[in-house]
Amino acid sequence: MGIRVENLHKSFGTEQVLDGITLDIPDRSFFSVVAPTGAGKTTLLRIMAGIESADAGTVHYDGEEMTDVAVQDRSVGMVYQEFINYPSLTVRENLASPLQVSGENYSAEEIDRRVQETAEMLKIDHILNNLPEEVSGGEAQRTAISRALIKEPDYLFMDEPLANLDYKLREQLRSDFERLFSEQDTTVIYATPQAGDALAMSTHIGFLHDGNIIQKALRDEIYYRPRHLPVAEYLGEPPMNIVPVTLVQEPTSTHRYFEVDDETRIPATGFDSLSPGETYHLGFRPQDMTLTENSAEASITPTLSFVETVGSTSTLHMDFQGREIYALHPNPLHLETGAEISFALDPKKFYVYDPEAGNLIAAGEKIPSFS
């Protein structure tokens, strides 16, 4: 029961929001569409659900053409950022309503049973007799989700449902969702600008950029092997550091370096396929940077702008050659703003991108590969 969209085009006025999107969403996957705000995720979702129509292109559910089928004739559920529940109905009545208005004649016992089941699954069985205004934000959102799930739709579309929730609650629901949907038959399509949410919950991720899905893969694959610069720069908490470099080879030796400027040379071991004299974009993750006092080991020495220590994690915001880079350190750190900090980098965890096309040309040995 997967979804296939082919060649979707949609523009609003002169703005081309979706530019020929072709996408396969696997059956029973949790598929996140990730992109910054305003990139067109909501539009894509609405077209796939059938609430909006594309200018061109087709939508197929499980091989069957659905492009012109009205949304009420499809087996879909939808959850929005604003938790939408009927304010004058209790939670129980809210959950029952999709079953009551559907064409099928469910018996009262059947409805009760399914309401109870769904409520227990989403842990709102204790508030079934409350009104939506009496319950907390998280409970209201879970009510909205229950209402979408109670008809056991084949496809569930969620548009940033966690955006308006408390921090701790989002954390909790992220974890709950991941578990919940892995046990369900429903195919979930989830739109979010938060890379972290997508990485935490999804089985698959598609990255929307300039009207196109530029990479779509299993979560691990798109995380460990981002094939294009925009994906690499976005899909990470904090995002990957990207630095322009030139590959340099000493005339008299086989040592190769990524040269940033006259002072900074980063070892380029293992990248024999690259050509000396060429410029590239070098990517390395904030977690793969090791603090060092040893100048022989140090590859780069940026200047500290800011340290954010939360609990036992320190995020270092630094200035390197006029660009902002980040490092993640697993312990609390107390450092002075403006201090120069040295890091050792591991070439086995490097990503090398083509500066014009932005695609991944080479990756370090330790980076997992996917066939």
Partner: protein
């Protein structure tokens, strides 16, 4: 730049009716002059009510508000000289940025040349120079919040500045820049600040001292580090940290004549400092350990009894790391452990966990057990 104290504040909404709610319940809090503080807690904990009582927009049912020792409980906001930044940018959009910043000073009759100096200073600090003559409707909510902040601190006699979840309308990608400028402004002017938020990340990075509220009570008021290392009860332990502390129900048992925690068939050593405080007859005990402190190993440690076998139920990628949700073998107990982002592990795999004793906290009846 003043010291703000709230004494025994209690506030009840709809008193005497069926809908009566105690929003704030006997809170005592002192904010040091020039300090950056945060008020953190889940929705409905009373933090916004407390903020409004401090700013003067709400009169408390009981208790006093003091600024530099003077009782201001009956004074309206304008007399308290407390500036406020709201959830959405509150801007005078018929004036440009310069006009907005100058507004409070012009109302006070300050001469124009002095006004220009002050506006320039604020604009420099908050990096608003490029947009001084722009209209607020053309800037986004991020810049407008900074303008609102600038307007709040521009008067030299501002005693404090209160923030009520100011990042609500700000785009996630811009939050950090804005938070940094807010922090720099607070430090530069040494203004007593209180920042209300439900996001601990924001609270812990802005404030030196964080007050955590729950159900109208002030649970703990300490530095971020102390809250993290020494939570006063299980609520704080779980609330602070992302993910929060693991709280595992346990029994107490003696092992080599020192108290240990007992979970199912497994015995876990606790921090030495508290050995003397633990009573072997206690019930309702829990140990707390942060996911970042749990050591994870795939290879069988053989006879090393410090390791406990467990099975991986869930692997989540969170904040640059991976969080494994594991279940200790032969128990129903769930433990979250943090591992590197490229630690390759599958759901269902068997692993070994170790809990270094100095990182293990002990809770009795939900309260932390500390060395005396």
């Amino acid at each position: 730049m003043a010291e703000i104290e709230v004494r025994d504040i209690r506030h009840v909404y709809d008193a005497g009716t069926a809908d009566e709610t105690v929003a704030v319940d006997h809170v005592d809090l002192t904010l040091q002059d020039g300090s950056a503080n945060a008020l953190l807690g889940p929705s409905g904990c009373g933090k916004t009510t407390l903020l409004q009582i401090i700013s003067g927009l709400l009169q408390p049912t009981e208790g006093q508000v003091l600024i530099d020792g003077e009782d201001v409980t009956d004074q309206p906001p304008s007399e308290r000289d407390i500036a406020q930044v709201f959830q959405f940018p509150v801007i005078y959009d018929s004036m440009d940025v310069y006009g907005n910043l100058a507004f409070p000073l012009r109302n006070g009759g300050t001469p124009e040349n002095e006004i220009e100096e002050r506006v320039q200073k604020i604009a420099d600090l908050l990096e608003l120079n490029d947009i001084l003559h722009s209209s607020p409707s053309n800037l986004g909510p991020e810049l407008n919040q900074l303008v609102a902040l600038g307007r709040g601190i521009i008067r030299a006699d501002t005693s404090a500045i209160l923030f009520d979840e100011p990042m609500t309308d700000v785009e996630p990608a811009r939050k950090l820049t804005i938070r940094r400028r807010v922090k720099e402004a607070q430090q530069e002017f040494e203004i007593t600040a209180l920042y209300v938020t439900h996001d601990q990340h924001e609270a812990l990075t802005f404030a030196e001292q964080v007050a955590i509220m729950r159900d109208g009570h002030l649970v703990q008021y300490d530095s971020g580090e102390t809250l993290y290392q020494n939570p006063v009860n299980t609520f704080i332990g779980h609330f602070i940290g992302s993910p929060g502390m693991n709280l595992l129900d346990c029994g107490v048992t003696a092992n080599d004549e020192t108290p240990h925690a007992q979970i199912g068939p497994h015995t876990i050593a606790v921090s030495e400092d508290i050995h003397d405080e633990i009573d072997l007859s206690w019930t309702d005990c829990q140990i707390g350990i942060r996911p970042s402190s749990v050591t994870v190993q795939v290879a069988d440690p053989k006879e090393d009894t410090n390791y406990i076998p467990a099975t991986v139920d869930q692997v989540e990628m969170v904040g640059g790391y991976q969080i494994l949700t594991t279940r200790l073998d032969d128990t129903d107990v769930e433990v979250k452990a943090r591992v590197a982002h490229d630690f390759m592990i599958e759901e269902g795999a068997s692993i070994w966990l170790s809990f270094p004793p100095d990182t293990v906290q002990f809770f009795h009846e939900k309260q932390a057990v500390h060395a005396q």
